[in-house]
């Protein structure tokens, strides 16, 4: 690659010809503030619409200031990133934004996590010279999963980029023009009436308090306060490697047992693990996979490829975008759903309490799980299997509210019997994990011998679409793993157009990286290499587990023995399986 020489703030540097000023400055360790610019290393996605104009710098010989994020370097370019002219302009721009922004930092959910607030502080903005009208006042739109306060929208368009370019869902668009412009859904409908799948990737990248998960902490507090309620927590695999970040720990720190202690301190009656039901999912889904494969071999006809169904964002995507392909996903409920059913049927029975008096709270890395919890198939009459879903961020908030010093907590173990999970379950938290876990079990079931190497390396990593062929009991199983709904769309088009590569099983996770990159996880603040650290931690846990295959989970074996008899039994179908239907939405 050809290099060019540029001088930035008096220091010269040689950078590739295709670099932007921002990238060149970075090489010199010069940090130019940005706002709308977004670079996702692991997804290989960059968006530099150059709309916020916060990163403007002075380039010698150019009449106007240039946005560093989108201006390519040229040989012998002389750049001043912090000239008074640039500084004053930058300040004025942030002041303009604030002049059209509610000044309610005290009560804003995003306070201290807000990029605008941070910029105002960095630039020493202490007074707003400008005041005037605000863009039409937008009502707070409180969805089931996502809450939108568009009066706080600064038109960086990151959410739109995520929704349309990365996820290819198409629920959001810039609407109106000029001062009235903001990002909205079709016809400004509630998110629930649109093709939004609830993945929360928009929330994950929103720099202000415009997009937030809907806060359910108050409801959980009320349940914990009520002496008549038995409160049962479940924690998803991906939460244990991320929640520590909210307490200042290094990304990728494993805090499973501190998290259990924290929840107990909050007053949980039982703290269980979604890993338990992840193993259960493997039993159900694996059996279904074997069934369909056998059908295929014997009758040359089966609903293939079987698609995983544990990701609620992905299921919503299927129901809205590919309603004619709903025969493909596994009918198995997600681990969260299975847990709810087991807790409120099996476990409540065991405790001899009414299901109405049990409150199941999920701690999930995910906003779409809130939508999943209100599905009809996850309730008995009016009583839901999962009462409340808190994202990792909300859980951390609750812990902070309760004045619990998370980092100094002692370790505790999950309660029995729904607290036991295997290594196969914990990798549900990363892309490729569900399939890997399934293959471990399917292999041993069909081959009837021990699988020596548990790691299916070709299915790991951040590549958008991963494909591999695995031979099990003489059958060549063509498997694919995709993460990010944009990639899911690619693979669905492939399947819809004849499944030419003859795929048998496909794992889909809506969020880039899988659940560790879920829309409810601690904010990445622009550094998505954090996803790699969380992934590493997940694999570390798997590696250190005594049991690493779902079918070897003793509690699961117990559950089948005592209750469900065998996977895909009639009772299992009642509690652990679901059905999908077309969603007609805007």
């Amino acid at each position: 690659m050809e290099n060019v020489n540029v001088t930035i703030d008096g220091r010269s540097v040689s950078v590739p010809k295709t670099s932007t000023i921002l990238e060149a400055a970075k090489q010199l360790g010069i940090n130019i503030p940005t706002l709308c610019y977004m670079h996702l290393e692991t997804t290989d996605f960059t968006c530099k619409p150059a709309t916020c104009r916060v990163c403007v710098v002075e380039v010698e010989g150019r009449r106007n200031l240039c946005p560093a994020c989108a201006t390519p370097v040229m040989d012998n370019m002389v750049i001043k990133t912090n000239s008074m002219r640039a500084l004053e302009a930058r300040k004025a721009i942030v002041e303009l934004m604030i002049s059209d922004h509610p000044q309610d930092c005290l009560t804003c959910n995003k306070s201290t996590d807000c990029r605008l607030q941070e910029l105002a502080n960095e630039l020493g903005i202490r007074r707003i010279h400008l005041s005037g009208t605000s863009k039409s006042v937008h009502p707070l739109m409180k969805g089931i999963a996502i809450e939108r306060d568009m009066s706080k929208c600064i038109m960086c368009r990151r959410c739109e980029e995520m929704c349309n370019k990365v996820q290819k869902v198409g629920a959001l668009s810039g609407v109106n023009r000029g001062f009235e412009a903001y990002v909205a859904t079709a016809f400004e409908e509630e998110l629930e009436n649109t093709v939004c799948v609830g993945c929360g990737q928009c929330v994950a990248v929103c720099p202000t308090g415009a997009l937030m998960e809907t806060d359910d902490t108050a409801k959980v507090i009320r349940a914990l306060k009520d002496p008549n309620k038995t409160v049962v927590f479940q924690t998803a695999p991906a939460t244990r490697v991320a929640i520590g970040e909210e307490f200042g720990l290094e990304p990728g720190t494993i805090v499973t047992n501190k998290m259990v202690t924290a929840l107990k301190r909050l007053g949980a009656d039982y703290v269980f693990d979604t890993n338990f039901s992840a193993d259960l999912t493997i039993m159900e889904e694996g059996t279904e996979l074997i069934g369909r494969l056998t059908d295929y071999i014997e009758n040359k006809k089966a609903d293939l490829p079987i698609l995983t169904s544990c990701c609620p964002g992905w299921i919503n995507f299927m129901e809205t975008q590919y309603p004619d392909q709903l025969h493909l996903p596994s009918t198995a409920k997600s681990p969260q759903g299975m847990f709810g059913a087991v807790a409120k049927n099996y476990f409540a029975e065991k405790l001899d309490i009414d299901r109405e008096n049990m409150v199941v709270v999920s701690i999930m890395p995910c906003t779409a799980k809130k939508l999943e919890a209100v599905r009809d198939s996850l309730r008995v009459k009016d009583n839901p299997d999962v009462d409340y879903v808190l994202t990792t961020r909300e859980a951390a908030r609750l812990i902070k509210m309760a004045n619990i010093d998370f980092n100094s907590l002692e370790d505790s173990n999950y309660d029995d019997p729904l607290g036991e999970g295997t290594g196969a379950a914990v990798i549900f938290g990363v892309t490729g994990g569900v399939l890997e876990a399934a293959l471990r079990t399917v292999y041993e079931t069909l081959e009837k011998k021990e699988l020596k190497k548990l790691e299916f390396v070709p299915l790991r990593g951040f590549q958008g679409v991963k494909k591999a062929t695995v031979t099990i009991a003489g059958i060549e199983v063509n498997a694919a793993v995709v993460h990010g709904l944009g990639n899911a769309r690619t693979i669905m088009e492939e399947i819809k157009n004849g499944n030419k590569e003859n795929l048998h099983v496909v794992e889909v996770m809506a969020c880039p990286g899988g659940c560790i990159g879920g829309g409810g996880q601690p904010y990445l603040h622009g550094d998505d290499t954090i996803l790699e650290k969380r992934t590493k931690a997940i694999y570390e846990i798997d590696h250190s587990e005594r049991i690493r295959k779902s079918h070897e989970n003793e509690a699961i074996q117990e559950l089948y023995k005592n209750y469900y008899q065998e996977p895909n039994s009639e009772l299992a179908h009642r509690d652990l399986h679901t059905h999908f239907k077309k969603q007609e939405k805007y």
Binding site: A50, T51, C52, V56, M155, G174
Partner: protein, 617 residues
């Protein structure tokens, strides 16, 4: 008519067209531009034709409905050839007299002739009119001369010969070189050298390339593109094909405002007849060159005049500009190399090819070759469309061609470049107009709108008017333009309402500079120009609004106060009855008084008073 298969056949057709023309000894040209059309020029054509028929003059006289003559102020215009007799403000009922007197009796109809504004003398023909004397028409050459609906009339005037010449005698490089050497700069606003643009576009290889004509004329007060498309659509069609040949594009697109129905109709018609004559489509003029044109409608967004926004709009998206690079020449319409020029730029091309680069370069100034079309409007006598060599001074344009200020008022300023431009004043009147001089003066060429203001125009209010426009038309993409223009407008509103302070003036200036410095596209970068230029030239006027709470031009309503002169008031009560807010008190036959607290300053009382007893200041 079959397809023209060679240059020779084209020349032959021209010959035939010329022969056809000389059959009639009198040609009556009736303006069919939007302005004249709205004043029944169609009816004039019908009546003239009927009179000709009644008098059995069909062999001698032909009526041609043409495009705009430019002299919109005095429309509808009817012109008699060969002696260029120029009739103004013609009404349908004048047809009989025109035919009887002018054609049959050989006498000009004096009452319909133009009179010199200063001497009041009758001017017999257009050659002696000041309005036309200083003009030089290249882009508008055929406007007002040919029937835009007849391709053969265009061919008669050397039409499509430039294209034929390019296809048969010149390499693509030759064509680009001619355009480069001619010094032609884009007429859409920024003045980028056209030849260079073509050269860059020619360098990129792709399976498809596009030539786009930007006909999204949105400058309020500019209507040259519309006039060209209405009056000489083939010149644009031909030029686009030439450009296609030069840069290696086979597809053309015209992006045109949906608000221009007549221009759309005529352009469509021109494209269809060009296809019919084999001047568009496959194997043009028997060569291997293929090129065709499609029309895309705009949907009402000024920002789509910016080329990247225009391309996004053509792609069916929101017309939001994107940062350059990449330039459209590299990645434009659907990611393909695309060359965008505006209508007037294209209209110059065939003439440049035919007459050579040297000829074109000899017109105008060193850095701004050729002519420029301006739309004169505002408080000027001769509102209309003119074309003058670059380097003509503002004084010549406004006073010689434009006939000076309406109602004998005093010239105050002229806004060039529409909402992106600035106000130029008395001291700038002798500046030769070209791209660079206008920018140096804090304004810009823009598309060529020229709005003249007289002493009654309040400059902060004028700036406010333009900001209302840019605020309304901002796409909302970048922060400085989205929020900044709104804040600027709010500051101006406060100033015009007497709520302004010196700090506001300071803020107005600072913010204007920041927006100019940081906005994403040309719309935002130039939006503060009307403020900066008026602040510069008319600071006193701003100051008067802020410190004295007075509007020197007496146009900011909130700063006015009305007063009844007790000596002149007869107590007729008319004013108190007309006052919408009950602010006037007084008994019958006694002097009245205005309650200033209640007065909404509508001026109704002053209008009604028969005795001149009410005044304002």
């Amino acid at each position: 008519m079959g397809k023209i298969k060679s240059f020779d056949e084209l020349v032959q057709l021209q010959k035939e067209a010329k022969e056809k023309e000389v059959v009639h000894d009198i040609h009556i040209l009736v303006c069919g531009g939007t302005g004249c059309k709205s004043q029944d020029s169609d009816m004039i054509v019908n009546n003239l034709r009927e009179e000709i028929k009644n008098n059995n003059l069909e062999d001698r006289v032909k009526v041609v409905k043409t495009g705009c003559f430019g002299f919109c102020e005095k429309g509808p215009i009817v012109k008699f050839l060969p002696d260029n007799t120029f009739y103004i403000e013609v009404k349908p009922e004048d047809a009989k007299e025109l035919i009887t007197e002018h054609v049959i009796n050989g006498e000009k109809v004096t009452r319909l002739l133009y009179r010199n504004q200063t001497t009041n003398e009758v001017v017999p023909d257009s050659k002696h009119m000041d309005f036309y004397k200083k003009q030089q028409r290249i882009a508008l050459k055929n406007c007002g001369f040919i029937n835009p609906g007849e391709i053969e009339e265009y061919i008669r005037e050397d039409g499509y010969q430039a294209l034929a010449k390019c296809l048969t005698e010149k390499s693509t490089k030759d064509v680009i070189d001619i355009v480069k050497e001619s010094g032609l700069r884009g007429r859409g606003g920024a003045g980028f050298p056209t030849g260079l643009k073509w050269e860059i576009a020619s360098r990129y290889d792709a399976d498809v390339k596009y030539v786009v004509c930007n006909a999204d004329e949105g400058d309020p007060g500019a209507f040259m593109d519309r006039s060209i498309l209405e009056g000489d659509p083939h010149s644009v069609v031909e030029a686009m094909a030439i450009c296609g040949y030069a840069i290696g594009a086979s597809k053309g697109r015209v992006y045109i405002r949906a608000e221009y129905p007549l221009a759309i109709k005529r352009l469509n018609n021109a494209i269809m007849s060009a296809r019919e004559y084999g001047l568009l489509g496959k194997h043009i003029l028997g060569t291997d060159f293929n090129f065709d044109i499609e029309i895309t409608f705009g949907a009402g967004a000024f920002v789509c005049g910016e080329e990247t926004a225009l391309i996004h709009s053509m792609e069916g998206s929101r017309g939001e500009p994107t940062t350059k690079p990449p330039f459209p020449a590299e990645s434009g319409f659907f990611g393909k190399p695309t060359n965008v020029n505006n209508v007037e730029t294209f209209a110059n091309i065939p003439k440049i090819i035919l007459n050579g680069a040297e000829w074109y370069k000899s017109i105008g100034t060193e850095k701004s070759a050729g002519t420029k079309v301006f739309a004169l409007a505002g408080k000027i006598n001769n509102v209309g469309l003119i074309e003058v060599p670059m380097g003509t001074t503002l004084r010549e344009v406004i006073f010689d061609i434009g006939g000076g200020i309406k109602n004998g008022k005093k010239f105050k300023a002229v806004q060039t470049g529409g909402p992106s431009g600035g106000c130029l004043t008395e001291k700038d009147l002798d500046t030769p107009i070209d791209f660079d001089n206008l920018i140096a003066k804090g304004s810009m060429m823009g598309s060529g709108g020229m709005i003249v203001m007289d002493e009654d125009s309040c400059m902060p209010a004028v700036a406010k008017f333009y900001l209302e426009f840019t605020k309304e038309e901002s796409c909302g993409k970048c922060t400085p333009c989205r929020i900044g223009t709104t804040r600027l407008l709010e500051l101006l509103e406060m100033i015009c309402e007497g709520k302004g302070t010196l700090e506001h003036l300071d803020e107005l200036k600072n913010l204007s500079q920041v927006i100019k410095d940081t906005a994403l596209c040309g719309l935002g970068q130039t939006a503060p120009n009307p403020i900066l230029s008026t602040l510069d030239a008319f600071y006193d006027e701003y100051l008067a609004h802020v410190t004295d709470k007075k509007c020197p031009s007496k146009s900011c309503r909130k700063l006015l106060s009305y007063k009844i002169d007790a000596n002149q008031c007869k107590g007729c009560t008319l004013c108190s009855r007309v006052c919408p807010n009950g602010a006037i008190i007084g008994k019958v036959k006694e002097a009245h008084m205005i309650d200033l607290m209640k007065c909404v300053k509508c001026g109704a009382c002053m209008e009604k008073c028969k005795f001149g007893a009410i005044s304002m200041e």
